[in-house]
């Protein structure tokens, strides 16, 4: 009894886990690999009427098959790349075959991610570009394909990098240009190109210098044009802080936004007071008012 029970259990387990092991596809002739969207023929050795299923998550087809007939898959019928299972189900038998549908060789579109859209000038490897390459049916082109990235700044200078796709993706990191302005970031794969604009803005101020001029009971303070270390004018709106101290005590603090590259303000012309200027982490010069005429 016990061996019989074990045999029963084993049989059940095998039945439960085993898949349908169809006969080898001796009568089902399917190309091992076809290009997405192309026409091809599946030959069958069906002795009687059967149904052909072509199955994958990417696409599914069902065709009635006459005895011995071949099945023509028209151009465009199977256009999604993937691994497909072909099943020929007849009244008494099932034949199966597997085949791949691969992306068409020619690139038809490039999905391009360029980041960031705005960054300071002169930043090494500050800009990244990622390109995914697709065929005409939106299949990722998995065969290596050459991709060219070009970054052209406002001054006309161009950086070019080439990369080959790996599993359909290529990427680069590029330096932002020394000159501020809108840069064109372009990716090209075959005859397809895609473009993004990257705004390169001036960096932090490099140095700061002010001058002072008496005007009655007031003193007029004005900075020289504020520039970054590459000579780009720092963006208008950047705050410059003027501080007046007298005998070590703070008397007045004024925050002034840059307007047309300079910051300008007035403070009381108190003799012996010291006025300093700063923006961000940059300290400018100091002026002692006794010296101002």
């Amino acid at each position: 009894m016990k061996p019989r029970a074990i045999l029963l259990l084993t049989t059940l387990l095998i039945a439960g886990t085993a898949s349908l092991h169809a006969a080898d596809a001796t009568g089902l002739g399917v190309p091992k690999s076809v290009e997405a969207g192309s026409a091809f023929t599946i030959t069958t050795g069906a002795a009687s009427k059967a149904v052909l299923y072509i199955v994958s998550p990417a696409q599914i087809l069902r065709r009635d098959v006459e005895p011995g007939a071949s099945v023509l898959i028209d151009a465009g019928d199977i256009h999604n790349a993937g691994h497909y299972l072909a099943l020929l189900v007849g009244p008494s038998s099932t034949e199966k075959a597997e085949f791949d549908v691969v992306a068409a060789g020619q690139t038809a579109s490039v999905s391009f991610l360029a980041k960031p859209s705005r960054l300071p000038v002169n930043l090494p490897e500050g800009i990244s570009g990622v390109a995914y390459v697709f065929d005409a049916y939106q299949n990722l082109v998995l065969n290596p394909a050459p991709v060219s990235f070009q970054l052209s700044d406002a001054g006309g200078a161009t950086q070019t990098r080439s990369a080959a796709t790996r599993n359909g993706v290529a990427w680069v990191k590029m330096n932002s240009a020394p000159k501020a302005g809108a840069a064109q970031f372009q990716v090209s794969a075959g005859s397809v190109a895609n473009k993004r604009v990257v705004q390169q803005v001036p960096g932090d101020p490099c140095n700061l210098k002010m001058t002072a001029r008496r005007s009655g009971q007031r003193v007029v303070l004005e900075t020289e044009p504020v520039r970054d270390c590459s000579g780009n004018a720092v963006s208008d709106g950047t705050i410059v802080t003027f501080t007046q101290t007298y005998q070590g005590r703070s008397e007045a603090t004024v925050d002034v936004p840059l307007k047309r590259d300079v910051a300008r303000t007035e403070l009381p012309a108190r003799e012996g007071s010291v006025i300093s200027v700063a923006t961000g982490v940059v300290m400018g010069n100091e002026i002692r008012l006794g010296d101002v005429r």
Partner: protein, 180 residues
């Protein structure tokens, strides 16, 4: 003695039936192995990796649910973009043909091969063993065991990573295939 053996036999038979039923109904979670990352360029934190793997495996469940029930709305939770459009088309094709398919993933061998510099896309390769069952007008036509390598690209959304590209890699690129 003979009676007790019969009871034991019946018990084993019942246990076998239950086990076989559980296996057939997909009780088992797939075996998952995650290989060390390769490729970069961005360093993938352990927490991010875990989230990507979790959401990708959930995407298989979503896909199976959608193709099993012919309900494209079940894809919303896990797919976006091209992957969602293509799977939605497959659901529509199945509906039109009176077909359903049941994809049961048995094992995944995952490897993250690309994490983009700005952190907006992750690409992984998945050597997956799965069973596909084809049901034509409620009649099971065949069940087939397949092994395929999938390329998936995931992008972050508000609460989870979603699959944007989901495509089997051809045998010519993987050098492997083991349909049984």
């Amino acid at each position: 003695m003979k009676a007790s053996l019969r009871v034991l036999g019946n018990f084993l038979l019942l246990a076998g039936c239950i086990l076989a039923t559980l296996i057939l109904t997909g009780f088992q979670e797939p075996a998952v192995q995650v290989d060390p990352d390769s490729g970069g360029p961005r360093n993938l934190e352990a927490q991010t990796r875990a989230a990507v793997v979790r959401d990708y495996l959930q995407a298989w469940k979503s896909m199976n649910g959608a193709l099993q029930e012919n309900r494209a709305d079940l894809l919303d939770a896990s797919f976006v973009g091209i992957a969602k459009e293509k799977l939605t088309d497959t659901v529509r094709e199945q509906q039109a043909l009176g077909l359903k398919t049941n994809y049961r993933d048995l094992s995944h061998n995952l490897k993250i091969v690309f994490y983009s510099p700005e952190g907006l896309s992750v690409q992984l390769l998945d050597t997956v063993q799965y069973e596909v069952q084809v049901i034509d007008h409620d009649r099971v036509q065949a069940t087939q065991h397949l092994s395929t390598r999938y390329v998936a690209v995931l992008t972050p959304t508000e609460v989870r990573w979603k699959v944007r590209v989901f495509q089997a890699q051809p045998e010519s690129l993987t050098g492997q295939r083991s349909g049984q």
